[in-house]
Amino acid sequence: MSIFDLTIAGAAKELAARKVSAVELVTAYNGAVEALNPRLNAYITVTPELALAQAKQADARIAAGNATPLTGIPLAMKDLFCTEGVRTTAASKILEPFVPQYESTVSAQLKAAGAVMLGKANLDEFAMGSSNITSGYGPVENPWKRAGADAKLVPGGSSGGSAAAVAARIALGATGTDTGGSIRQPAAFTGLAGIKPTYGRCSRYGIIAFASSLDQAGPMARNVEDCALMLNAMAGFDVKDSTSAERAVPDFCAALNRGVKGLRIGIPAEYRMDGTNPEIVALWEKGISWLRAQGAEIVDISLPHTKYGLAVYYIVAPAEASSNLARYDGVRFGARVDGVDLIDMYERTRAAGFGAEVKRRIMIGTYVLSHGYYDAYYLKAQKVRNLMLRDFTQAFAKVDAILTPTAPSAAFGLGEKMDDPVTMYLNDVFTVPASLAGVPAMSVPAGLSAEGLPLGLQIIGRHFDEETVFAVSAAIEKAAGFTALPEVRAK
């Protein structure tokens, strides 16, 4: 067995038993990053020296007997989390020279738990995208291949670098952020588990904002248990984020073996959309039968406003983004292109610094908030968002969790779905509703497509009931027995 076959939980055991040291583990991962990252482009910035220094501290901590399950575990940090002294770009050229003097709360908590940072993972620029092709630092390659084909596939997005890194085993786990599916969809595309916790469960402090009312940090890892271990360390109330929830964080690992016996699992009729890939529908049916077989009660439910989800999302998220990204003006930090006057400097800086997708969303957002259009777009979208929340509230009066597919297809090829942004936006159709409602949702690898690509199922839970989400996800994981591995990986 290779050191790269260890999961986080497995590595933690080996470290605790002194069968391997953190320095050995991290050195192996540093080497794997060096070997594979030039090809995959999963990291924008690699920090091998920092990782090694942290590994040494981790070994000292393990020796001192006050380690946590994450002490010495090498992780990839999505480059949307500000890291003190380590360049943080949000995959945008406008932040190319930006080195924060502060640490995000989530990365600080991971650091405090003893986790090791291998580098800053690539993503779609400002987390806007579903394929990681909008990164200002080049696209990320999915380590998976279609059977018998060599075409490069996308890892999904926006947390595509995180996904590719964990799938290719050049990180043991990774942080992601999810605004409309940015953890769940790439997890599905790369055969990983990934959870978007309840909005407010993890602090947003120090995470570069895309859409403030939707952004939420979460873990991506090889299995459900690793996600639980990571979320234990990432979650919690933070006075520095007024929207973080002041409530205790349960031990998510304790929920993993609860089983699903007696749980009511909702199957929303509206997710059976015309034209959905039959493979996806078949996988969903499989998931239903697995849960039923383990003693869950399957309940047909309705989430009537689902069909408006994408429209609402692509109004609310760009509206907030257009405002959140106004600070990138070349005045105080980041890149600047001089101009003849202030306005000229703004225009040149932003024209050069932002990519096409970011500009498109800033324009959409500016438009929907404009005088005369606000009521028709933004306000109406907020009303529908409330109705979608009510859909979930009513559904959760009848069921304990909801099961759906994560994405409408398996990973697609680099360069596909490029002709029309709306085609790309359709990737988020199953993930966006949970984001708008703020409820927790997890993607679990559940099978392979006919072409040999991983497919995921999504488990949605009640607000702050990640425990049930973990329990159901673990049950799916157990039944699916997903063991396939990507072609490109550290061995």
């Binding site: 989390f81 500000c82 943080t88 949000a90 932040l95 930006f98 924060p100 003097q101 502060y102 995000s104 947003r204 402090y205 120090g206 995470i207 570069i208 904002a209 859409a211 403030s212 009312s213 006075v239 520095k240 984020d241 007024s242 929207t243 509206a319 907030e320 257009s322 405002s323 990204l325 106004a326 600070r327 003006d329 005045v331 105080r332 930090f333 202030l342 306005i343 703004y346 500016t366 908030l369 404009s370 005088h371 606000y374 933004y378």
Partner: protein, 483 residues
């Protein structure tokens, strides 16, 4: 008489409303822990939140909320238990986030009213539309470098209260009285220092003109006027300009204007067409601000007595005229000074001494009520010496001047200089006898009907007693001996 302006086409009325920006007194800024203190080296009081760095989030400062609620209570206004912050989006170099966090749709304070008093004693009520919390911007300076602008973010993020009045103001005098009244109230409350020179209070002045009985005409907004005098002058000069526009067949266009105090004129800054589209929307980084009634009640219970109430109480409690009470409550320190002196003494006498000799001495010596020429305790002691007839009123004036000069207590001065009033009737009688004997001719004139000479005899007796005779007893003795 109502204030009007005469134009070529007739008489015009002025309509004015004020938006006052009052900087909240607080340790730290509205949404960050950075110091809100005025001054300091440029960019010394700036946190990453204030500078709009990536990933930074605002966290509401509870003290600023309390200050806004106190101010709302002071304006007799409705306190909204639910309010919400919005983003007001626009680009400027000293606005780090590219948006200002303000309250647009749901302000923390709703309608209220204040009382103003005009020169002729008329009392008028000016309606308050709302008060909301917002953050201040930084400061751009364009004259510090040949080709660059420099930015100081010390003020960026400091809490402001924007107090919006109804268009109830009808003259420059009312505008001035209203602004002074708001300043007086916030100073009493300790919610804003009201220092207009330092920019911690400034006003946007909305002005329009109309003929009697008309609906409102188009208004112009004059931005950032920073003194009471300038506000009064801006109202007048802008009204005259608008009258001229209307009377020459033109139309006043809604626009933002600047007041130039050096030229005494307003000029166009930007028209409605160039006006920003602020794209207000609810601030997603903050939860709605929900207050508990008990918390508001607790703040209300600890509110200091406000000037209008204090003035009425002074009139009732101390029996002083309404006008005098107005002078004494002008600011909290003067009112406190007065009360210290008046408590347990003759309130009228205290008021007269303070508005007379005391203020005169304060002005003469260039001192202030906080650092007075004579302490309230000493002035009170002086009044006690008058009341218990240790000295008489005339000697008291001399003692007071001595107090101003030396800082000594009145009792000590009286003892030192032997100024104690003589009430020994034997001594007084002797002095009277001597004066009458020395002035036999005048006594004869008096007895033949020249009554006026009575005062002369009294004066001579007082003089002979170095002013220390008890005036009443001296009068009585003179009367008795003259038969």
């Amino acid at each position: 008489m109502a204030y009007t302006l005469e134009g070529r086409t007739g008489t015009w009325e002025v309509v004015c409303g004020l938006e006052i920006h009052a900087q909240v007194i607080s340790e730290s800024k509205l949404f960050s822990g950075a110091s809100a203190t005025y001054g300091g080296a440029p960019n010394a009081h700036v946190s990453f939140v204030d500078a709009g760095f990536p990933g930074m989030l605002p966290v509401i400062n509870k003290e600023c909320v309390a200050q806004a609620v106190r101010t709302g209570l002071g304006l007799k206004a409705q306190i909204n238990l639910f309010s919400r912050f919005d983003r007001k989006n626009y680009f400027y170099a000293d606005l780090p986030n590219g948006y200002q966090i303000s309250q647009f749709a749901h302000p923390i304070v709703g309608t209220g009213q204040v009382e103003i008093e005009l020169q002729d004693g008329t009392i008028k009520h000016i309606g308050i539309t709302r008060l909301h919390l917002e953050q201040d911007a930084g400061k751009s300076m364009h004259d510090q470098h040949a080709s660059k602008s420099v930015i100081d973010l010390n003020r960026a993020g400091v809490a402001l209260m924007e107090i919006v009045s109804e268009p109830d103001i009808r003259s420059p005098e009312e505008a001035g009285a209203y602004l002074r009244k708001i300043r007086q109230i916030v100073r009493y409350l300790g919610t804003c220092d009201g220092n207009m020179e330092e920019g911690s209070m400034r006003a946007d002045v909305n002005v329009s003109v109309r003929k009697a009985g008309e609906e409102f005409r188009t208004r112009c907004e004059i931005k950032n006027v920073n003194s009471v005098r300038f506000v009064m002058h801006a109202v007048e000069t802008e009204a005259i300009r608008q009258i001229e526009v209307w009377e020459s067949g033109g139309e006043v266009v809604q626009e933002t204007r600047l007041y130039d105090p050096s030229k005494g004129e307003t000029r166009s800054m930007r028209s409605k067409e160039d006006a920003h589209d602020y794209r207000y929307f609810p601030e997603p980084d903050l939860l709605p601000l929900v207050l508990e009634q008990e918390w508001v009640d607790a703040l209300a219970a600890k509110l200091p007595e406000l000037p209008d109430e204090k003035r009425r109480r002074f009139c009732e409690q101390y029996g002083i005229p309404f006008y005098d009470a107005g002078v004494l409550v002008a600011d909290q320190a003067t009112a406190d000074f007065y009360e210290t002196v008046a408590k347990g003494r003759d309130g009228k006498l205290a008021a007269n001494w303070i508005s007379g000799d005391f203020f005169a001495a304060m002005n003469r010596t260039g001192k202030s009520i906080e650092n007075p020429p004579v302490s309230a305790a000493d002035l009170g002691a002086l009044l006690d010496l008058i009341a218990d007839k240790t000295i008489n009123g005339r000697i008291a004036k001399d003692v007071f001047e001595e107090m101003v000069e030396t800082g000594k207590a009145p009792g000590a001065i009286v003892e030192e200089k032997g100024l104690r009033q003589v009430t020994d009737t034997g001594a007084i009688d002797a002095a009277v006898t001597k004066v009458l004997a020395d002035n036999a001719d005048k006594v004869a004139e008096y007895k033949s009907g020249k009554d006026k000479l009575f005062g002369f005899f009294v004066g001579q007796v007082m003089k002979a007693m170095q002013g220390k005779g008890n005036p009443a007893l001296v009068n009585e003795a003179v009367k008795k001996q003259l038969g």
